[in-house]
Symmetry: C2
Subunit: 341 residues, 2 copies
């Protein structure tokens, strides 16, 4: 499976993989999205805004989220041009959350480049994020769809709520599965689900198809984030743009840790308490953590959880006609899980 180990939403090798096949279907639309992004992130008065947002938007992210909006509207046979505005909206909201996340995580790297808050400062990251968020809502207003505004303002609330919740789960070994689900839904799945759902909404698709697109996005996003959390205990730096063990060193309580802690003996629980809850780590601890994760089947069961979400995403697509768009969306769901194997 090594040929598939690559992150569809971050820098990495290219090739005729499933992401590239999906991209090829919406390539012309995506070029229009790129043009609209450049046009709308500009500011008549504050030249610092496009400097900072361009840094992030042009940094080589693969634009998975706007591509999902374009593909969903294609799956519904949409003929208008509002999907361009909505895909741009989705990318602006994503970029705004990255900018705000850079501030909050004090992370030094994002997509392999220095983050905005290192190159500029916290102030600019917060305010440029706010600007992109406002521009996103302006674009939605232009589509004239209150339903789209409802879906994406709901998603924005879930995203912010999940991020706040994540602050309180770090180092907290009492984090349960429901809370972890809420965190990763806010972190990833809420925007994936909104991105695909609005593609159906502007296409005037039947309600059950709109619901299916939402389920697909949610399942794909949950699987994607579970895989991301898994890769932190096994992926290579090249594949993810971050180092194995980063989450461990930061004391993040992800599904593998929750499972290994719950299933461990007293020695294991003492180990997790010291390294994660108290954050006291020594050389060799990451290897010990990997050993505990393997012997408690924590990694295997986290993989099964990701597989379950991907299966939910695949089942939701079944009511759409067969064809290249549906196949490409199915392949992406498979790919997201496969990369974490």
């Amino acid at each position: 499976m090594s040929a598939r180990v690559s992150d569809p939403a971050a820098d990495g090798e290219t090739g005729a993989g499933p992401f590239e096949r999906l991209l090829a279907l919406v390539e012309d639309d995506l070029a229009r999205v790129t043009g609209l992004i450049r046009e709308r992130m500009s500011s008549e008065h504050a030249s610092r805004i496009p400097e900072i947002s361009a840094h992030l938007i042009e940094a080589g992210g693969k634009r998975l989220r706007p591509i999902l909006t374009l593909a969903a509207s294609r799956l519904c046979g949409y003929q208008g041009s509002d999907h361009i505005k909505l895909a741009t909206t989705v990318e602006f909201i994503h970029t705004a959350t990255l900018l705000h996340d850079d501030v909050v995580d004090e992370s030094g790297k994002r997509r392999g480049r220095a983050t905005a808050n290192i190159l500029w400062d916290n102030k600019s990251s917060v305010l440029v994020g706010d600007y992109l968020f406002a521009r996103a809502f302006q674009l939605m207003v232009e589509t004239g769809s209150l339903e789209v505004l409802r879906i994406l303002s709901d998603a924005s609330a879930v995203i912010a709520e999940g991020e706040v919740l994540q602050l309180t789960t770090a180092h907290d070994l009492s984090t349960d599965l429901a809370r972890y689900d809420q965190v990763i839904r806010g972190k990833t799945a809420a925007l994936f689900a909104a991105a695909t759902e609005v593609g159906g909404v502007i296409s005037d698709a039947e309600p059950q198809k709109v619901a299916a697109l939402r389920t697909y996005g949610d399942g794909l996003g949950m699987a994607f984030q579970l895989a991301d959390d898994l890769l932190d205990y096994g992926g290579s730096t090249a594949a993810l743009g971050k180092n194995t063990g980063d989450d461990f060193r930061e004391g993040k309580v992800t599904l593998p840790i929750i499972l290994a802690h719950a299933r461990g003996d007293q020695a294991a629980r003492d180990f997790w308490t010291r390294t994660i809850a108290r954050g006291k780590q020594e050389p060799g601890d990451l290897d010990q953590a990997l050993a505990y994760l393997a012997e408690t089947d924590a990694l295997a069961d986290a993989r099964k959880a990701a597989r379950g979400h991907a299966d939910r995403a695949l089942a939701a697509l079944a009511q759409f006609p067969e064809g290249e768009t549906r196949t490409a969306l199915e392949d992406i769901a498979e790919f997201v899980v496969a990369r974490a194997v």
Copy 2:
């Protein structure tokens, strides 16, 4: 005029002043707004959100912005209940900008209390602000008015743009009047204008009345911020909740400084370059600054500018029928300028 020196939007003495008379007209509605604020700032999953937002929302701000929305809809004879949602929206957007401003300014005090980012941390301030912003858009969606969404997403973009612009004007003595106007419009007038305009929009007021309400809010907001900038060179700590000379010490380039710098002789210009542009200040510099501001008529002319914006606000009200609401709104415009005399 000393009895009038008080800030209508911040802590301070109360009494039967113009603010209290306006408040009395919408008191019942404001109680409903307070109830809705409490209901909507709660979070099912993240208890930290209401902790932080309540800290700011309950801190005793006088809620001038939501009161303006309530008064504007009252002036138009509005009979529905969407004005409660919109007033709550306006307060949420204001609170979100305060939370983000706390992060960016690294200020230690807001409304006389420690700011959220001291009591909690930068992370929480950013994310809780994002949450309130998302909740604000959800409330607008509930009103079903795309026009309201357009007005407040436009205002949000102007606010963020103005804040970014402000970052680049600090210590920059080449800041001109147009740029200063853009900064204070983003800082204050954009949300005032949107707050009054949406009151007219939900009332289905005629277009010229909606435009007049927008002009009133803009004029009031510009006058308010000009007065605020003036008070920093003459107000008392009790009246403003901040100390005379704070802007000077932070190197903020406000209208009084722009005028005094442009009109000063070589000695004066060297003084401003050292104290504002280079930020090198010594004991006695504030007194010297006040002397330069007085002898170049900078303070007097900044007061005239505030007066001009207030007059614009008053003129806009002329097309509404005379009555207690119009009178109260007129008195507030007078009051905002009078406090800076």
